[in-house]
């Protein structure tokens, strides 16, 4: 019952929060210089056709009126406007691109967890060992490496020199037939379709960007695991277990179970950050993800994709934080108490 009440309370805030985010981003993005009408029709368009297009797009209205129309379309029709670059509705574009980004960062974070958690646990348990030293360096280094540069170096070794992976040009080989879109995540879709060629190609293209994000996000996950495990292993219950002579594996397992909430927290923060933050890696691999779509929008005064992306990213972050709260309920009896 507490869960329901808790989530209900959270839901109350979601509306105002989203409204605030759209409000600020709308007026902010409108400040970006550049006339979409000129951009669409090119430099040779006559003033008359420009004016006509501006009227059609509602650019002759005041900003407040434009905002009202934007919100109305969003609430009533789920319409986020059109991108003049792709000439398609932003909602459709984002439903196409967001899964590409989500597939990438989900796998990246899973790899980050596989790297960070074992190293963090090991470093916390064997404080003076080589592992602890290595973890120290790794944590600092992962925070210092530019992800787009790491991606380039990986491409150089594994594509240019060794030729183990496909060229960094998108999510599938040029001649591979894509599976029909169900979830938008290529691995899942090609499995559902039984399309093994697409599955192999998608997996091959995912390797390097996932490794890049995994290596970088492994750093903060490692640091968080290590510091929380440290605290847990120092705590009274761990000492008591140790005094009772319980085997190491049980002591570690109990401490880890109590450290999980902070690991979940750092993963959720990273997830929210990477929705937009993976854009540099997306660009290096021509991924065609949502972040890349938004950046193209800013650079070309195409504001609807930018606003749509900010909206999608905000909704996704809120969903993630909600899931995290549910996970807390599941794994931490103190929250349920």
């Amino acid at each position: 019952m507490r869960v329901v009440r808790y989530i209900g309370k959270r839901m109350l805030f979601i509306g105002p929060q989203l409204f605030g985010i759209i409000l600020v981003s709308f007026f902010l993005v409108k400040l970006i210089p550049g006339d979409p009408a000129v951009m669409m029709l090119g430099p040779l368009a006559t003033e008359a056709t420009l004016t006509e297009l501006r009227n059609e797009m509602g650019l002759n209205l005041s900003l407040v009126e434009q905002f009202y129309i934007y919100i109305k379309n969003l609430v009533l029709h789920g319409d986020l406007g059109r991108s003049w670059q792709t000439t398609r509705p932003v909602t459709e574009d984002l439903f196409l691109r967001m899964p590409a980004t989500l597939e990438l960062i989900t796998l990246g974070l899973i790899l980050g967890l596989l790297i960070g958690v074992p190293l963090g646990v090991g470093a916390a348990y064997l404080k003076r060992g080589i592992l602890a030293k290595f973890s120290d360096y790794y944590g600092l280094l992962a925070g210092a490496l530019p992800d787009f540069w790491l991606a380039l170096v990986l491409i150089f070794f594994f594509y240019t020199i060794l030729g183990w992976v496909p060229p960094p040009l998108g999510r599938l080989d040029f001649f591979t037939i894509a599976p029909p879109t169900v979830t938008g995540a290529l691995l899942i879709d090609s499995l559902l379709d039984g399309n093994w060629a697409a599955l192999g190609s998608a997996a091959g293209h995912l390797i390097l960007p996932v490794v890049t994000l995994g290596l970088i996000s492994g750093g903060p996950i490692l640091k968080m695991t290590q510091s929380t495990m440290d605290r847990m292993l120092e705590s009274d219950y761990s000492r008591y277990e140790e005094m009772c002579g319980l085997p190491k594996s049980i002591i570690i397992r109990h401490a880890l179970r109590n450290s999980l909430p902070s690991v979940v927290t750092i993963v959720s923060v990273l997830y929210g950050f990477l929705i937009g933050g993976a854009v540099l890696v997306e660009i290096v691999f021509s991924w065609g993800g949502a972040g890349q779509y938004a950046v193209q929008g800013v650079l070309n005064a195409d504001i609807n994709p930018v606003l749509g992306f900010v909206f999608f990213a905000a909704v996704l972050s809120l969903i993630i934080y909600l899931i995290v709260d549910l996970i807390y309920f599941a794994i931490d009896p103190r929250v349920r108490g």
Partner: protein
């Protein structure tokens, strides 16, 4: 070293010198206990020195293309090779921190000052009640909204709005970082405000402004300083990222991110040096600032500082 009663009994010069020497000794002790920190200071000082003396050290002009010498691998003539336009990479790498560090330090400094001042005020008035509390709550909710934006897209949008120049990149970085210092300072101030000496000062009739500036802020500076160094490194990364997508520093100007971007196409055909070397310089610099930040964290925490200094002194007496 900040002193609680700094405003009330002025210290003599010799006392100040002694306090300074004591602080220096702590620093040396900590550096000896954690040599990695010393590496961090070495990197930061090294990068700054290289940037200042770049015109004297660099063998070539940093922005002059030389089409005859394009994409030369590293050799004695071009230590780190040349890029696709024939510019010397070593030269450009040591010129780059002039831009990167200027942007990062200026942006971070502005955000630290503005963020700390707002954060201190908000934290001080948060629990007073009435209009000040309401206003504090409003500021915090605004910070929430600002931090809900996807950082990178927000940064590019800001640069697009202000126009592509050094100043607007600095402004964007300052703007993005303000909420960090706002939160940090606010939580610090809220705990310090409850301390006896602040209450005593309030009871004695000291004006609020004076209490905030002379008592509260100096005593809550330590975590801000630690954050500052880490943040400079992070801002260098952000600047490079902006330049990499073409929304930051523009091409011939030597900057690590745009240099990596320029070498992007070459790395696929096997010429790794135009991208790899600037990336290493960038990573090493950020690494250095992160280490300095970590050392400030230790120095600012009296318990850890004493523990570290203590073990060093023990070791010294044992050796003697």
């Amino acid at each position: 070293m900040s002193n609680i009663s700094a405003g009330h009994h002025p210290r003599t010069t010799s006392e100040r010198v002694q306090a300074f020497l004591r602080a220096l000794r702590y620093l040396l002790d900590v550096l000896r206990a954690r040599p990695l920190f010393a590496v961090g200071y070495g990197i930061v000082v090294g990068v700054v020195v290289l940037a200042i003396f770049a015109p004297l050290i660099a063998p070539y002009p940093p922005e002059t293309a030389n089409p005859v010498d394009f994409l030369q691998p590293p050799s004695w003539r071009h230590l780190l090779g040349t890029d696709a336009t024939g510019m010397d990479i070593f030269t450009r790498i040591i010129y780059a921190p002039r831009i990167d560090l200027t942007i990062a330090i200026a942006g971070t400094a502005i955000s630290a000052i503005v963020g700390s001042l707002i954060g201190a005020t908000v934290g001080y008035y948060q629990e007073v009640g009435g209009v000040p509390s309401f206003f504090s709550g409003f500021v915090m909710r605004s910070a929430d909204v600002l931090q809900a934006f996807p950082v990178f897209v927000f940064a590019i949008a800001l640069v697009a709005i202000f126009g592509q120049s050094l100043q607007s990149i600095i402004a964007a970085i300052a703007f993005l970082n303000i909420p960090i210092y706002l939160r940090l300072m606010r939580s610090q101030v809220m705990s310090i405000r409850r301390m006896r000496f602040v209450e005593a000062s309030y009871v004695a009739g000291t004006p609020d402004r004076y209490i905030i500036l002379r008592h509260v802020i100096p005593n809550s500076m330590a975590p801000v300083l630690a954050q500052l160094s880490v943040n400079i490194g992070w801002s260098v990364l952000l600047t490079a990222g902006l330049s990499f997508v073409g929304a930051g520093v523009v091409a011939p100007t030597p900057e690590w991110g745009s240099m990596i971007a320029m070498g992007f196409q070459n790395i696929i055909t096997g010429q790794w040096w135009p991208s790899v070397f600037p990336g290493i310089a960038l990573a090493v610099t950020v690494f250095g600032f992160a280490l300095v930040g970590a050392s400030i964290e230790v120095l600012a925490d009296p318990a850890r500082r004493r523990a570290m200094a203590g073990t060093m002194r023990q070791r010294r007496t044992k050796e003697a």
